[in-house]
């Protein structure tokens, strides 16, 4: 990775220490959600709909209840019915009613794999055998599996009672949950002034986040109606708030302990199993663990919305963009929320275009309720606009990189949604791309016979949220610092947050000891997602560390009986400004500090960090006879800001790019006409395995 020049010298930030949780993860000791063991723990199974769209006429659980070893059975009758009100949480949208009905179907199933009933039994096999004995009487309805079907005038209506919002008007009996429009300038005039107008529609397949760890949840419901939950999640507080809603409990009655999490990419923000485990525990009076199968993960969680995106661009003869239009139709799945606002924000985000109009449609289809996936909405629209830009360049003989630079969005550019950009780094990324070895290299070096190569370049954007985080620090008596926080760690954030504390405190990263704690043990912290964790929780660590230094100085002043202004703290050493005799290490002080333990904490609620841009270059090689496509060279240029732990920043870029390659080449939900996903296994879903170099 190439770093740009830094104005500030850092001691810890920018280095590559071994991550604090690494030892547990390379030895198999780390406890993920499915690894939990509790006294008396029993296991459960979930009955899922075999149909994509059906009315539940009756559920008969009596046979299952009779099976020896079955301890509790539940259906949606065991959940309180919730109102169709918008949730106020900052990271999760949608109504409370839909939240509950996605967890467990109420009167109707919206997709194949939709949970219908659940039970707990003494062991896994008993649970799985017993669940088959639950009889559900379905009235099968015609499924609707893509945006064209859903928006057709004769389409079956999936959410019958739902009041949709079409440009501010309340509409009933539609599969379009939301139609939003954003427009700036006179787009029609822009097109008529253009010398060249090109339009393109792309069809995006549905894809899954594809994390290796299946969803899981373990719960204990105690005699005081308090619920303890252990789960692999991107946001323990989102789980707490969502579960308390679904169960009708005050948030303080739900304690969520986040376990290690085996990947999420946005897909482990929603809740699925937690309320079921809780109710089963209440009924069985045992701790209950539920774990999904891989097929359940594909059929009932995620995915990222597929759909159709149509873009139209008008440019003048010099290659300046004058007008742009987008029609974005994304699949929400069985309940609303296809991230069309985010998609709308991202579609023209890389360009300075004087007139724009964007229409976004949030479309209900009989697929699992979609979940965020690595900048939700952004890849779908980036694929459309970047392909169109390439086609224009190819048609006009323009250099696609120069064209992008000519039209680049900068600080002060008005975005298609209205607000002006603050300081952003796209132009720098494009210029770095232009200077890169990759862009300057010849495409056809070492080309095998029968193969052809192509090179593509594309830009993309995500807006990087801020939100709430809290960090506690406590000086240990050996001079190290215990850091507790509430951001679940998917890919090394414990390290990057600790490093920010260590930098301020002037101690080695290893001397900060981070722990991710449960929701009763830390202030509210938003999800690990939206590229916020290192920034917002890191910011809280930065502030808390400054407070800790203050506290150290105050207590050192007390110890030495001098004025606090006389005390200086620097790189783990405490000394007096005037008396050179007064000097001690943090360790010496920590062991014997007056006035009680030295602690500090800080909380933040941050605005977004200005947004991140990337420019990626890919060389692909295609077998002319079979169409087999291999990516032979890939360069990601990303405006990362300051890389706290460069190895994990590189890892994010590499991992994200690999997922993108999988999406572009092979991954998709292959749906039957009946709305059944036919490739719900890793084997046929075809996500990227080792990208094997073709030369060996």
């Amino acid at each position: 990775m190439v770093s740009t020049s830094d104005k500030k010298e850092y001691k810890v930030i920018g280095t590559r220490p071994i991550r604090h949780d690494g030892y547990d993860k390379v030895t198999g000791r780390a406890q993920y959600g499915a690894d939990i063991k509790l006294p008396g723990l029993v296991l459960g199974a979930v009955l899922r709909s075999p149909h994509a769209h059906a009315i539940i006429k009756n559920i008969d659980t009596s046979e299952a209840e009779k099976i020896p070893g079955v301890l509790a059975v539940m259906t949606s009758d065991d959940l309180p019915r919730l109102d169709d009100v918008q949730r106020a949480s900052s990271e999760e949208s949608g109504s409370e009613k839909h939240l509950s009905e996605n967890v467990l179907a109420y009167k109707k199933v919206m997709y194949k794999g939709h949970a219908v009933a659940a039970l707990a039994a003494i062991d896994q096999n008993t649970a799985e055998e017993a669940i088959k004995k639950i009889k559900v009487d379905y009235e099968i309805l015609e499924p609707v599996i893509n945006v064209d079907q859903a928006m057709h005038k004769d389409a079956p209506i999936i959410l019958e009672d739902f009041e949709a919002d079409h440009l501010g008007k309340k509409v009933l009996n539609t599969n379009v949950a939301l139609h939003e429009r954003y427009d700036f300038g006179d787009v029609e005039k822009g097109f008529s002034n253009s010398d060249f107008v090109l339009e393109k529609e792309v069809n995006m397949q549905t894809v899954h986040q594809g994390y290796i760890e299946p969803h899981n949840a373990t719960a204990i419901w105690d005699e005081e109606n308090r619920v303890k939950i252990w789960t692999s999640t991107q946001g323990s507080f989102v789980v707490r708030d969502s579960v308390s809603k679904v169960l009708g409990l005050d948030v303080s009655r739900v304690r969520v302990t986040p376990m290690e999490i085996g990947g999420g990419f946005g897909g482990k923000i929603p809740i699925y199993l937690e309320p079921l485990a809780a109710i089963l525990s209440k009924k069985s009076r045992r701790p209950v663990k539920l774990v999904m199968t891989r097929t359940d993960v594909f059929e009932a969680t995620g995915p990222a919305p597929g759909g159709k995106v149509k873009v139209k661009l008008g440019v003048d003869s010099s290659g300046k963009m004058l007008a742009a239009k987008a029609v974005i139709k994304l699949e929400a799945g069985g309940f609303p929320e296809a991230f069309i606002e985010a998609a709308s924000k991202c579609v023209f985000s890389c360009y300075d275009i004087p007139s724009t109009r964007i229409d976004g449609y949030d479309v209900i289809v009989n697929k699992p309720s979609s979940a965020p996936y690595r900048a939700p909405g952004s890849p779908q629209v980036a694929f459309a606009i970047e392909t169109l830009v390439d086609e224009i360049c190819s048609e006009k003989g323009w250099n696609p990189l120069e064209f992008r630079i000519k039209n680049v969005a900068r600080k002060g550019t008005r975005t298609a949604l209205g607000p002006l950009y603050t300081r952003i780094g796209l132009e720098e990324c494009l210029k770095a791309a232009k200077k890169s070895d990759h862009w300057k290299s010849k495409l056809d070096d070492n080309l095998s016979p029968g193969k052809k190569r192509g090179r593509g370049i594309a830009s993309g954007y995500w807006f990087n949220i801020g939100f709430k985080s809290h960090v506690n620090l406590a000086l240990n008596t050996d001079g190290t610092v215990a850091l507790t926080e509430g951001s679940t760690d998917i890919g090394g954030t414990r390290a990057s947050i600790s490093m920010q504390a260590a930098e301020v405190l002037g101690i080695p990263a290893e001397d900060v000891r981070p722990t991710v704690v449960d929701t009763d043990s830390i202030g509210y912290t938003d999800v690990t997602g939206g590229s916020r964790t290192c920034y917002a929780t890191g910011y809280a660590a930065y502030l808390a560390s400054q407070k800790l230094i203050q506290e150290i100085e105050e207590k050192a002043a007390l110890k030495w009986d001098i004025d606090v202004e006389e005390v200086i703290y620097e790189n783990g050493i405490i000394k007096s400004k005037s008396d050179s005799e007064l000097k001690m290490t943090l360790k010496e002080f920590a062991d014997d500090s007056p006035g009680g333990p030295i602690t500090a904490n800080a909380s933040v609620d941050l605005e977004e960090a200005g947004g991140g841009f990337g420019v990626h270059i890919a060389d692909v090689e295609i077998d002319e006879s079979t169409g087999k496509t291999d990516v032979v060279r890939y360069t990601a240029i990303q405006d990362c800001g300051k890389a706290i732990h460069p190895s994990y920043v590189e890892g994010q870029l590499q991992g994200g790019a690999t997922q993108g390659i999988g999406w572009a080449l092979n991954e998709e939900y292959y749906m039957s006409r009946d709305g059944i996903m036919e490739n719900s296994s890793y084997l046929d879903y075809r996500n990227a395995y080792f990208l094997r170099p073709s030369d060996d």
Binding site: D21, G69, E129, S647, G651, Q659, S681, L691, D696
Partner: protein, 161 residues
């Protein structure tokens, strides 16, 4: 259990990470379940339960297998090694150290499988080429890293051992 009255647990004698043990297990459970539920070691992970992710990789008599595709009953008399057996009292295996230093893990769920498979390769071939490493580890899925750092870590461990 409803229809399992005629199925009796079976007793097997096996060696897991160098320790001989007798286990009483249902005959139909996988080696993965045997390790996680009966032996109680959970470092071996379940990602797909159908042999397509490699997260449950262990060795049986020095060959790597997906433990979800082996019955627990089959390890009678065999020698099984898992991630828990990789580090020694002297410290981490060079591969474990290299995975840490090279940041070859993000979420870490696939890491035990990658480490067991990589160790098996280096035990057989101390200096594999990059292509050989990629081929050997093709049965292991990682969704976070994009694989590059994993290859580099195995190469580094190969140089250091």
């Amino acid at each position: 259990m409803a229809n399992s009255k005629k199925v009796k647990k079976i007793q097997i004698t096996t060696t897991i990470n160098g320790q001989e043990m007798e286990l009483l297990i249902p005959p139909y459970i996988s080696l993965l379940e045997t390790l996680r539920e009966i032996v109680g070691i959970t470092g071996t992970k379940e990602g797909c339960n159908d042999g397509n992710c490699g997260a449950c990789t262990v060795t049986i008599d020095r060959r790597i297998v997906d433990s979800c595709l082996v019955l627990g009953a089959e390890i009678d008399g065999k020698n099984v090694e898992t991630i828990e057996g990789m580090a020694t009292p002297e410290g981490l295996h060079p591969l474990q150290q290299a995975f840490l230093e090279e940041a070859a893990l993000q979420c870490g769920i696939c890491t035990p499988g990658f480490l067991v498979a990589s160790k098996n390769l280096l035990d057989k071939e101390p200096n594999p080429s990059e292509g050989r490493i990629r081929h050997w580890l093709a049965g292991n899925l990682c969704r976070c890293t994009g694989y590059d750092k994993i290859v580099k870590a195995v190469q580094k461990a190969s140089e250091n051992s």
